[in-house]
């Protein structure tokens, strides 16, 4: 049918190496997600703080993260920061870039979620004697995280897909990096990347399924 001999065996023989890469991909994505959520909560607090400087920092973070390419952010973390004499390893640069991106997008999601939580709840908490921070921690934040659970799942999938950009700063241990190195070794471009694509697809499906099960377990009343 095609004037081309598919050699799937060659690609499948490298499957263990690629699966090791997939583990690294998931590690980076999960770590960036965990730090990203924490940072996004801090950014949300900055925005709520009423201080112009703090909310200015939060707003510029969110707008830069949302209005420039993720690849640009990773370049910035690797090459941009290097002009100050700070040299990160590709792994660190990738993590920093994705985390910056995640935090920006999640902070925006959290802001949308906050609109769905009535002010009166926080005020009721305050009048029961909670401090402002306690009211946020015990009343607002749990609901905020619950409402933005679905956007967080999407962001997690994005984080997985974004790890493939690490290769541009020299990352070669994640799934894409491993595949690219194998490609340089064997020249089975189509077969290797097809296998990588299937692995990426399965990872995202597992995450979406896991999130759905988790949501069912956590959010039952």
């Amino acid at each position: 049918m095609f004037n081309y001999t598919f050699q799937w065996k060659q690609a499948l023989a490298r499957l263990p190496q690629m699966l090791d890469g997939a583990v690294v991909t998931m590690q980076v994505a999960l770590l960036s997600m965990a730090i990203g959520i924490a940072l996004a909560v801090v950014l949300t607090l900055f925005r709520l703080s009423g201080s112009r400087i703090l909310s200015g920092i939060a707003t510029s973070w969110v707008e830069i993260a949302r209005n420039t390419p993720a690849l640009f952010q990773i370049y910035m973390a690797h090459f941009g920061v290097a002009s100050f004499g700070i040299h990160f390893s590709p792994w660190t640069s990738l993590l920093l870039g994705i985390t910056f991106n995640n935090a920006g997008y999640l902070a925006e999601n959290f802001r949308g979620a906050l609109k769905a939580i009535p002010d009166t709840q926080a005020r009721a908490g305050r009048s029961l004697g909670l401090s402002e921070l306690q009211a946020f921690r015990f009343i607002v934040m749990p609901q905020m995280l619950r409402i933005s659970f679905l956007p967080m799942t999407n962001q997690m999938v994005w984080a997985i897909l974004m790890t493939s950009l690490g290769v541009t700063v020299g990352m070669n241990t994640d799934l894409y990096g491993v595949t690219q190195d194998l490609n340089a070794l064997t020249f089975r471009t189509f077969e290797l990347f097809a296998v990588a694509a299937v692995i990426f697809y399965l990872i995202t499906k597992v995450i979406q399924l896991g999130a759905r099960l988790l949501a069912r377990r956590m959010f039952r009343y």
């Binding site: 390419p69 290097a82 897909l161 990426f200």
Partner: protein, 217 residues
């Protein structure tokens, strides 16, 4: 610190890269939207069971990194089919399909947001399917879909930074070429980032404004 080896020629080189970014984005958004509307309406009309194969294919485009899509398409069209397409063509094809996958989802969501009784009322007044679609569904659905569509278009512009992998020199790639030559990463990246930001930010604000305005009335 403020000395720079950046010359007017280099700026023109960057501007060409920026032009390429905009060109690829416009092509992908235009054809992607047309395809996305067709796919979205199709999926809505035939129901989830018959549309399952299409849903699956579109889902694949949203679950695999764009970088891999580009490499795969390039390898398939170039090495397997030996079509000898240019990198730019491959980039446009892949980005168009990528856009249509997201756009179909937006279109379907927007059509579903129009209440069924409204459409039944239109049909029982004697409007044909086409009239119902253009006069009833379109004006209502566009209010739901347009803000997300603007977000999608900006997303495609940002994602078009990845087409360097099929040898298309767009803005970020030309920046990188200059970085290699001039060794001034911070300045060049700032210029590049500022360009993306200046395009994306006002349009994103417009989307936010439309969303706010349209949800209130």
């Amino acid at each position: 610190m403020f000395d720079t080896a950046l010359s007017a020629n280099d700026l023109i080189f960057l501007a060409k890269g920026a032009g390429m970014t905009i060109f690829v984005t416009l092509i992908a958004v235009f054809f992607g939207t047309v395809l996305g509307i067709v796919f979205g309406i199709f999926r809505y009309q035939v129901g989830p069971v018959i549309a399952a194969p299409l849903t699956f294919v579109l889902d694949v485009f949203r679950s695999i990194p764009l970088l891999i899509q580009l490499v795969l398409a390039n390898a398939f069209l170039g090495m397997v089919l030996r079509l000898g397409l240019s990198g730019l063509t491959v980039a446009c094809i892949v980005l168009t399909l990528y856009t249509s996958a997201y756009c179909a989802e937006i279109v379907r969501g927007a059509i579903e947001s129009v209440p069924q009784p409204v459409r039944r009322a239109a049909r029982s007044l004697g409007l044909s399917w086409r009239q119902d679609m253009t006069n009833i569904v379109l004006p209502l659905a566009i209010r739901v879909g347009l803000p997300s569509w603007i977000g999608l278009s900006l997303g495609v512009m940002k994602d078009s930074a990845l087409v360097y992998v099929v040898q298309v020199t767009e803005l970020l790639k030309s920046t990188q070429i200059l970085i290699t030559r001039l060794q001034e990463p911070l300045l060049l990246l700032m210029i590049c980032g500022a360009f993306y930001f200046l395009i994306s930010f006002p349009v994103a604000r417009l989307g936010g404004y439309l969303e706010k305005r349209w949800t209130h009335d």
